[in-house]
């Protein structure tokens, strides 16, 4: 009787374990690939992962692709030293010592290009500003001139007790000729 009970218990545990292993869904599998490669998963999760890997074709191909790519990172390293590197560093240090600090700022080609572009933009802005300002001053001057002319006429009209209207300039002139 006890043998039978223990056998049933063993079978139940076995079935539960199998069910647990097959529990992992494709979404969970995809989320755990990197942790499986890095051996960050606990034993149970790793077993579930492996079980899913064996039984799901699409996840298997995805895993193979991801594994190959992830392994590439580890292989993409600089392992050889450059025998000329020290001389290169020393040459740069010597060059820096020789170059005056102010010129060091302009040592890089890109920096010069950047500086030149900024300078051109600033100069263009100044030039445009000057042009706009000049036009405005010119217009103001013209306006002033017109104003002076008008005020002369105003003075004339005032001295002769005439009502002066800007639009009636020709009218006043006609009156003058009549006199």
């Amino acid at each position: 009787m006890t043998r039978c009970a223990s056998f049933i218990l063993y079978m139940c545990q076995n079935i539960t374990n199998r069910l647990k292993k097959s529990d992992m869904k494709c979404k969970d599998f995809k989320n755990n690939m990197v942790y499986y490669i890095e051996k960050n998963l606990d034993i149970e999760s790793a077993e579930m992962f492996e079980h899913h890997l064996k039984n799901c074709g699409s996840c298997d191909s995805l895993y193979k692709m991801f594994f190959a790519d992830y392994q590439l990172i580890a292989s993409d390293k600089i392992t050889e030293s450059n025998p000329f590197f020290y001389s290169r560093v020393m040459a740069a240090i010597e060059h820096e010592k020789e170059t005056k600090p102010i010129f060091r700022l302009f040592a890089k080609k890109e920096l010069i290009l950047q500086f030149a572009t900024y300078l051109i933009i600033v100069l263009l802005a100044i030039f445009t500003g000057y042009l706009i300002g000049n036009d405005k001053a010119h217009l103001n001057q013209e306006g002033l001139q017109n104003q002076t002319e008008l005020s002369d006429l105003q003075l004339f009209a005032d001295s002769h007790n005439l009502t002066f209207n800007e639009e009636d300039i020709y009218y006043i002139n006609t009156n003058e000729t009549e006199e």
């Binding site: 990197v34 960050n40 790519d69 990172i73 390293k77 240090i93």
Partner: protein, 190 residues
Amino acid sequence: MEDLLLIEEITKNKPGAFQQLVEKYQTLVINTCYGFLHNYQDAQDVAQEVFIDVYRSIEKFRNESKISTWLYRISVNKSLNYIRDNKKRTWFQSLDILFETEFKTGSSNSLSESPEEIIENKEKMDVIQQAIDKLAKNQKIAFTLYKYEDLSYKEIADVMNISISSVESLLFRAKKNLQKQLISLYKKND
């Protein structure tokens, strides 16, 4: 030679001492920079700047941390600055960059690979590098030090001046994000 002794000799201007330091640590510095920049020439340029900085400020080095930790910190900062400046510079980049023939040495199995395999791997690496570049700054630093330099969590924590648990969390998120990005790239390519 012990690092401390080496530094002492460099500060005393002893001939050959600085050369020893450069030769001992050049692979470490170049490889770290390469992990961020993904270009051998750029990595060498930045590594050169790192050693110039070391030469200039060796007297400021405090013996509180290892010299390798100090070198990692300078390399990481210089590389990130280079990336930042390079982004700004892209507008000013001249056409000759288009014709620049990029070469890289040190790839562990480049000699045994066929040209097709090299091209295929280069394309794959570009995709992976794009995914790494999209990681948040701290995740990228932790992941690069972990993957390119095989540093332990403790060493990464020392370089980044953070706790080990923070490193664990950063790496966990970095791996997750990288996996997510690669899977979405596969979906796009299908």
